[in-house]
Symmetry: none
C-alpha cells in the first residue's frame, strides 16, 4: 500500500526454510537516543528495520509486512489502547513489543491482554529489547520441523516441503511460491475445512478484507495445475460460504479412493459421481474420513 521497506517480500509467516530468516522490524518511537542505539544494533544484526515517529494507521502497518513492531505507547497518545487493540486484531501474527516509560501493573496487564507480546520498561538495554523481540518472533514459527517433515502424499500428488514443490510421479506441478504455500496449508489441514479468512491470514499474514478474492484466485490456479497433472482426481473442494477442504478423491467410478484409508464407505452421498465431476462444489464426505 504505502511503501515497502527495501528488498522483496520477507518470508511469509508460515514459510521459512532452515536458515534464520531476516527479520523485518519497525520501531515506533520518538526517543532519538534510544532509536539511534537500537538502530545501530539492528543494522549490525542485518535486520531490516525502519523508524516511525508518529502513530501509523493500522492499515499502513499491515502493508509493511513486519515480523515485529516495537512501540512506545507514549507516541500514540490517548488512543493508545484502541490503536493497540485494532492492530492486534488485524495482525494476529505480528509480534508486538511495547517498550515504554514507567507504567503501572494494571497498564502492563491491559496491554498484554490486548494482544501485546511483551512489555519492556524504559530505560532498558537495547540488547534486551532485541532478545525479547527474538523471543517473541521465535515462538511465532512453531512447526519449525519443516525440514524434517516427510513428504506428504495425497492421491497422486506428493508435496515436498524440502523443494517447495509438488509432484505427480516425477513431474513437477511447477507451482509458484504462493501456490505451494496454499497446497501445503490445505494438505496439512488433513481434510478439515479451512475458512477463507484463516487461509488468507496464514498465507498473507494479516487479516483478509471483505471482498478480497486472492484466495479464490490461487485456488483456481492450483486447481488448474492439479487438473493438468492429475486429471482423474479432485483435490480441492469448495464449501460454499465457508472455504476449502483438501482431500484426494478419485473420479474413477469403480472405487472411491481417498488419501485417508479406511475412510469413506461407498455410497457416500447419494449423489452420482457425474455431478462431482462437473463442479467443484462439494458435499461432505463421511465424518470418519478423518
Amino acid at each position: 500500500m504505502t511503501d515497502s521497506i527495501t528488498a522483496g517480500d520477507v518470508a511469509a509467516p508460515s514459510g521459512q526454510g532452515g536458515a534464520a530468516a531476516t527479520l523485518r522490524i519497525a520501531v515506533l518511537d520518538r526517543d532519538s537516543g534510544f532509536i539511534q542505539v537500537l538502530s545501530k544494533r539492528l543494522d549490525r544484526l542485518g535486520w531490516e528495520h525502519r523508524v516511525l515517529a508518529s502513530p501509523v494507521p493500522a492499515d499502513a502497518v499491515v502493508a509493511m509486512r513486519l515480523s515485529a513492531l516495537v512501540v512506545d505507547l507514549a507516541v500514540l497518545g490517548p488512543q493508545a489502547w484502541e490503536w493497540l487493540e485494532r492492530l492486534c486484531g488485524a495482525l494476529p501474527d505480528l509480534g508486538i513489543v511495547v517498550c515504554t516509560g514507567p507504567s503501572t501493573v494494571a497498564q502492563r496487564v491491559r496491554g498484554l491482554r490486548l494482544g501485546a507480546d511483551d512489555w519492556i520498561t524504559k530505560p532498558c538495554h537495547p540488547e534486551e529489547v532485541i532478545a525479547r523481540v527474538q523471543s517473541v518472533v521465535r515462538r511465532r514459527r512453531r512447526p519449525s520441523g519443516r525440514a524434517e517433515n516427510k513428504p506428504v502424499t495425497a492421491g497422486e500428488v506428493e508435496i515436498r516441503s524440502d523443494r517447495f514443490q509438488a509432484f505427480v510421479g516425477a513431474a513437477s506441478l511447477d507451482l509458484t511460491r504462493r501456490e505451494f504455500e496454499l497446497i501445503e496449508l490445505l494438505a496439512a489441514a488433513e481434510g478439515r475445512v479451512l475458512e477463507r479468512e484463516e487461509i488468507y491470514s496464514r498465507l498473507w499474514g494479516y487479516t483478509m478484507v471483505r471482498g478480497d478474492r486472492s484466495v479464490d484466485v490461487f485456488v483456481r490456479k492450483l486447481r488448474q495445475k492439479l487438473e493438468k497433472a492429475s486429471p482423474r482426481w479432485r483435490y480441492i473442494h469448495t464449501h460454499f460460504g465457508i472455504g476449502y477442504r483438501f482431500a484426494a478423491e478419485s473420479l474413477d467410478a469403480d472405487r472411491v479412493d481417498v488419501d485417508v484409508p479406511a475412510s469413506v464407505p461407498a455410497g457416500w452421498d447419494g449423489r452420482d459421481q457425474g455431478e462431482l465431476a462437473r463442479t467443484h462444489q462439494d458435499r461432505q464426505l463421511a465424518p470418519d474420513a478423518l
Copy 2:
C-alpha cells in the same frame, strides 16, 4: 491511561465461541508467599496448576503436558542455564516464563536466547505473571481453534465443527452455513429451550425485528434435512410462544431415547407418540428439564 484491573476488564483476543481452554501450568519456586498468592489467582482462573519445589528432570516436565512453566532460576542453582537449555530443547512448544530476583541485562538476554519466552523480575504482581503467561501461551495454540472440538452426537446425527457439517452415519446432511450454525447452536444448548430472539441474535449478530420469520424458516429447512437423513428420530422441538429445543428422541415405540438423560421425565406429556409424530409442536417440559 489509568485503569484498574477489574474482573472482566479485557476479553481475551481469542475470544469468541470457544471457551477459553483450560491451561495447565507448573510453578517451580520456593518463595512461599509468591506461590501462595499466585496459586490463589490460578485457582480462581480455573487453570490446572502445580507447584514444584525442586529442579525436576526435563523428562518429568515433559510428562506433565504443561502449557507453560513459571520458574525461579534461583531454585535451579548453578546448573540453571544448562537445565533451561535442555528443557527448551526438549519442549520447544512449552511456554517458559522465568520469574526470578534481580538480574543483569546479560543474564536476561542469555535466558531469553536460550529459549525462555519471558523474563519477569521479582518482586512482581501475580496478575502480571498471569498476563505474561497468557501472552506466551496465546500464540502457541492459534491454528488449532475450532479443530479441537470433539464431534457432538445426538441420536443418529453427528455434528462436526471441523467440517462445518452434520452427518448421519456416512451421509452428510448437506447443510448450508446458516443451517449448520443453527444446529450447532441448538445442539450446544443441550436440551435447553432457546428463545427465537436469542437464536437470532447469536446467528445473525443483531437483534431480531418483530415479525422476522428467518429462524422459523431455517428450523424448517433443518428439520427437512434431518427428517430425510434420520426419519425415525425427532430432533428439534417447538415450544409455542418461546422458541426451540434440540433433543434427539426416537420415534420407535418400544422406548424413548433421549440424548440428554435425566431430562425428560418419563411420560413427559401424556401425549401419545402418534401425535408427536404428527406435529413438531411440543408442550413445555417439566421445569427441571431446564
